[in-house]
């Protein structure tokens, strides 16, 4: 094939500036400064409490030393942490599988979407604590019951966001695929699915945070079996072990932050070459 004469080299101007490079460490500095500020305020409040009420808010170093790093503290709290992490992860994964499947079915069959979507919304609206007692009766105070709480709380964002992503394909692209007589499966895998990845990842990020909440709520309600963080929180409250209580609270937050950070990182990695959301 010959290079046509009037075809010059395409204009070398690149429209969008190349994605801004994040200076490493720069993104961590502002939250780190804020963290230090929070510690100072915490310390100040703690110091201002009268000796009789000081147990309500021990100082940061007291929480760290007695609540987390002391041998009998961490040997109890670390297994609980892992237990809760596994519970939320397990429920989250089940929510992903069924949520994506449900959204794909709703995308494929409009009538199914019309039939199922109201119930999905209703499921979202049911106060989980209200049906927890019922689940206790049906499933006992078991791992299954806790897992179901996690799934119930974490489920909705996945099918909702995934369906939105599948449906938001540019009409011109659909025409292009139809023009070349591609099958539904081809359109799904080469067009709708990749198009939905940004929204799906947003759904994952929201759902992962909810899964941690679900796990802790589930453990607080069903106080049976191997103790997770939720059970520890109540136990330390009863035992007036406030150092450990704050330790468990911090670990619960870290679990949520960990999930969230992982999916933020994953989004950036997968989307930075093509999607606006990951440009910053």
């Amino acid at each position: 094939m010959t290079q046509l004469q009037t075809f010059r080299q395409a204009e070398p101007v690149i429209a969008a500036a190349s994605p801004r490079r994040r200076v490493h460490g720069k993104g961590i500095l502002p939250p780190a400064v804020l963290f230090a500020g929070i510690l100072v305020v915490w310390e100040a409040i703690s110091a201002s409490l009268s000796p009789g009420r000081k147990y309500l808010l021990p100082s940061p170093q007291s929480v760290l030393m007695h609540g987390l790093l002391a041998h009998d503290a961490y040997s109890q709290i670390l297994p609980s942490f892992l237990r809760t992490a596994l519970l939320s992860l397990g429920g989250f994964l089940v929510a992903i599988v069924f949520g994506m499947l449900l959204a794909a079915l709703m995308y494929r069959f409009r009538w199914f979407e019309r039939a199922a979507f109201p119930y999905l919304v209703a499921l979202q609206a049911v106060p989980v604590l209200a049906i927890a007692p019922l689940m206790a009766v049906v499933f006992g105070y078991s791992y299954t019951a806790k897992g179901l709480i996690v799934i119930l709380i974490a489920f909705f964002p996945i099918p909702a966001n995934f369906l939105l992503g599948l449906r938001s394909v540019d009409a011109g692209l659909v025409d292009l695929f139809r023009l070349h007589r591609s099958s539904w499966w081809t359109r799904f895998f080469k067009l709708a699915l990749p198009n939905a990845v940004p929204q799906l990842l947003t759904g994952f990020r929201i759902s992962a945070g909810l899964a941690v909440i679900g796990a802790i709520v589930g453990e607080e309600f069903f106080q049976a079996g191997v103790p997770g963080l939720g059970m520890r929180l109540l136990q330390y409250l009863d035992q007036v072990e406030y150092n450990r209580l704050y330790g468990a609270l911090i670990l619960s937050s870290l679990l949520g932050i960990g999930f969230y950070s992982f999916f933020t990182w994953l989004s950036r990695r997968l989307l930075q070459s093509w999607h606006e959301s990951a440009a910053g």
């Binding site: 290079q3 395409a10 204009e11 429209a15 292009l176 023009l179 198009n195 990845v197």
Partner: protein, 255 residues
């Protein structure tokens, strides 16, 4: 009243034929009415008309994306190129994978696909950008990628739906010149929808003028300039005269 005419086969040199084609939407709005149009290989036909006259619909009918409610459209759909108003690239695919998309949909083996993609990228002067994502390209370059994507199928009929409408004047003129080169090189039949009379006259062997809704063909102008046409054709007296006539036909309908 237009009666449905039996499907007819295309002549040997014919690439697209509309016989008594009409389109009425279910709500009763008539979009197109009694369209007769034949485009042969080696012809480049531009369609101009007021906004909403059904120019784009004409291409949707030609491509088979929309079925006519009256009349018959004859076209070889296996070798049909279609460039839309937007570049309609898949943003998650690199330039080379966008160019290879149609070959992929037509199940051309990977090895052959790669060869044809490379050739086509070279043809449109984008080989240096084959690993870029569309986001990093300018509007003109995206349109080139879109053009290249259709070119990989070596179309015998090529439909253009205001492809350069959103580009700046300079890029637009340059792409017009490049399109003429492609047309000379490949000898496809072209149907080009545009708002711009100058673009239509400059590119085409024939310009078709459409009326406002319901769209019908109200004028046809043969363009006498031979190819290749240099940019200076645009400044000749004859060019101005023809453009004036087309404009008159168009305004007669808008008034």
């Amino acid at each position: 009243m237009v009666h449905t005419i039996a499907r007819r086969d295309l002549d040997e040199k014919e690439a697209l034929a509309f016989s008594g084609v009409g389109l009425t939407y279910p709500d009763g709005t008539a979009a197109l009415f009694g369209v007769e149009l034949s485009v042969k290989r080696g012809e480049f036909v531009s369609v101009v008309g007021p906004s909403g006259c059904g120019k784009s619909t004409l291409l949707k009918l030609a491509s088979g994306l929309v079925e006519p409610t009256e009349g018959v459209v004859s076209v070889d759909r296996n070798r049909l190129g279609y460039v839309f108003q937007d570049s309609t690239l898949l943003p998650w695919r690199k330039v080379k994978d966008n160019v290879g998309l149609l070959l992929e949909l037509h199940k051309v083996p990977k090895a052959e696909r790669d060869v044809r993609v490379q050739e086509t990228l070279k043809l449109v002067g984008l080989e240096a950008f084959s690993d870029h994502h569309p986001r990093r390209l300018s509007g003109g370059m995206k349109m080139r990628v879109s053009l290249a994507r259709s070119l990989t199928l070596d179309p015998s009929i090529f439909l253009f739906d205001e492809p350069f409408g959103a580009l700046d004047e300079i890029t637009r003129e340059r792409l017009n010149e490049e399109l003429i080169s492609l047309f000379i090189d490949r000898g496809f039949a072209g149907v080009f929808v545009t708002h711009s009379i100058y673009e239509a006259v400059y590119l085409s062997t024939r310009v078709v003028v459409m009326s406002a809704r319901p769209g019908r063909i109200v004028g046809e102008f043969e363009i006498p300039f031979s190819y290749p046409r240099g940019p200076e054709v645009r400044f000749s007296a004859e060019f101005a005269k023809i453009a004036g006539e087309v404009s008159k036909a168009l305004r007669g309908e808008i008034a």
